[in-house]
């Protein structure tokens, strides 16, 4: 690259991740090219405003720019696009990075692996594709030039799109009550809801409860492949504590687990483990909190 500027292309379906990708890009330094369907993106040097979220079209656009570095978010669509760009250009890919440094042409990245249990330091050469976890960094504002792009119709046709949004903001909640399979039934989730309400918190769930069983809305899934939360109090009701769930609650200040099994793996990652049935616990808590 020598005296040339690093050409950094950033993309995310999600505005918070797009900002994070931009912040990491700015910390590296170079020309930042953003791809977004939203016009008011102010933290890039150049913005390609796309007319639709077509995965094939976005991959074509990114690869046509011959980037030195591609940074995307890590929501599912971002991950698919990042990996396809890497595959098409036969580039190295380092997903889920928490930090990135460049030393000439060489990149050093830290990423989480082993289902969130390990932090791995990885070395790769530019050109490179990375995806970022976290949304905490803020980029500085720039004055981008803008170009509208009409993406061609790809091979994957979207027939319908249904939001799973339930209105709760787990990412910023101070108290979160998480339900797992151990709550027993969809019916029983109401006790968790009453408890959350009494504490001024919100209800989330493990992946099986949110994605397979539909006991809580899907967008409330906590963990490696769902949301990473950072409340001051997390209460896990009937959650076994597999690493993929822990990955989402690691930043909680205090973790309480309620489990009938006092040897449940969640003990390793809990401040308090109450050995009890989840529903009885909710009822007793509600009584103590003067709500029933």
């Amino acid at each position: 690259m020598g005296c040339f500027k690093t050409k950094i292309v950033i993309f995310s379906e999600n505005p918070a991740y797009l900002r994070m990708a931009a912040a990491i890009g700015q910390s590296i330094g170079g020309e930042i090219i953003g791809i977004s369907a939203i016009p008011d993106v102010k933290f890039v040097n150049k913005l390609y405003l796309i007319d639709k979220m077509d995965e094939d079209g976005i991959v074509d656009l990114i690869t046509s720019l011959s980037p030195d570095l591609v940074i995307t978010g890590s929501v599912r669509k971002d991950r698919a696009i990042a990996a396809r760009v890497a595959g098409r250009l036969k580039l190295p890919i380092v997903p889920d990075i928490v930090s990135l440094k460049l030393d000439g042409n060489k990149a050093i990245a830290n990423r989480v692996a082993y289902s969130g249990m390990g932090l791995v330091t990885i070395e790769a050469e530019l050109p490179l594709v990375v995806t970022v976890v976290g949304t905490q960094l803020q980029p500085k504002e720039l004055e981008p030039s803008m170009e509208k792009v009409q993406l061609k119709e790809g091979r994957i046709k979207v027939v319908s799109k249904k939001s799973t949004a339930s209105g709760a903001n787990l990412a910023t909640a101070q108290i979160v009550v998480g339900v797992g399979r151990g709550i027993g039934s969809k019916e029983n989730v109401k006790y968790a809801e009453q408890l959350a309400e009494a504490l001024g918190g919100v209800v989330g769930g493990s992946r099986p409860v949110a994605a397979e069983l539909g006991w809580v809305p899907e967008d409330r899934q906590i963990g490696l492949s769902g949301l990473r939360i950072r409340p001051k109090l997390y209460i896990a009701l009937g959650i076994s504590g597999q690493p993929q769930h822990i990955a989402g609650i690691r930043d909680s200040k205090v973790i309480v687990a309620v489990n009938t099994d006092k040897n449940a793996p969640i003990l390793e990652n809990a401040d308090y483990l109450v050995v009890a049935d989840a529903v009885s616990f909710c009822k007793a808590m509600l009584k103590k909190l003067g709500k029933q």
Binding site: R76, A83, G87, Y114, M117, T121, R155, K262, N269, Y272
Partner: protein, 242 residues
């Protein structure tokens, strides 16, 4: 239908331990969790449309895990030995070995429990020039057409594309079968082809450290739930979170 299913043999994520400042990953090996869902879906497609399921695994060649895939209904397995597999090397190894099979569909899971990159199926799709549909939670095939529901956490998307294609699935798509004793016995007779592949990896792992947060790990066990809750509330007040 020519069906290919990729599966990874990984250290059991429930047995990986943190000892001091080390992450001890030499745990017993198993088929990565959601890869069993990919295998199950592949076998179901064969049961519906006929044809053959070829499994491919790159990296570990643990015999017991390969047998498990065969017992679930995979017809044969190609086990590729490589030195330092990253996504690029693994994808190249898969493509070299499956291209001659002319697959109609290649199934993978959305993420392995060890490296967990989610990148492999997409990488393979691009090397083969095929459409890629990620995070599939329900799959229908009618003639040449694929109709898939994708679970994207904040929304569910229904998409259509055509065969041949690459698909990744999550745990929601099905419940993997538990093979019978007879199927386990028969799996010993199914072919396993061991091949080697060499390529220069594009990423190098420098270091692996555990992510540790120290927790208090206080167990509250009372026969009377009210007493347990009283204790908990006292602790939580002392911690200043209630």
């Amino acid at each position: 239908m020519n069906i290919v299913v990729g599966f990874k043999i990984v250290p059991d994520d429930q047995m990986i331990k943190i000892v001091g400042d080390k992450l001890v990953t030499d745990a017993p090996l198993k088929v990565s969790t959601y890869d069993k869902n990919a295998i199950e879906e592949a076998v179901r497609l064969k049961e519906k449309f006929g044809g053959k399921v070829v499994g491919i695994t790159v990296g570990n060649n643990d015999r017991k895990s390969i047998r498990e895939a065969l017992a679930m209904g995979v017809d044969e397995v190609i086990s590729v030995l490589v030195k330092n597999p990253d996504v690029y090397v693994t994808a190249m190894a898969i493509v070299e070995n499956v291209k001659p099979l002319n697959p109609d569909i290649l199934l993978f899971s959305e993420m392995s429990t060890d490296s967990g990159t989610s990148a492999l199926p997409a990488y393979v799709a691009e090397l083969l020039g095929l459409p890629y549909v990620s995070n599939v939670r329900s799959l229908k095939i009618e003639g040449n057409k694929i109709i898939a529901d994708r679970g994207m956490v904040s929304y569910i998307e229904t998409v259509e594309t055509t065969l041949p294609a690459v698909i990744s699935v999550g745990g929601e798509i099905n419940t993997p079968r538990i093979p019978s004793v007879k199927q386990i016995m028969e799996s010993a007779k199914k072919p396993v082809k061991e091949v080697k592949f060499e390529a220069q990896p594009k990423v190098v792992i420098r270091d692996i450290k555990p992510l540790i947060v120290n927790r208090k790990k206080i167990v509250i066990e009372e026969s009377d739930i009210d007493k347990a809750v009283d204790k908990l509330l006292e602790y939580l007040k002392a911690d200043g979170v209630l």
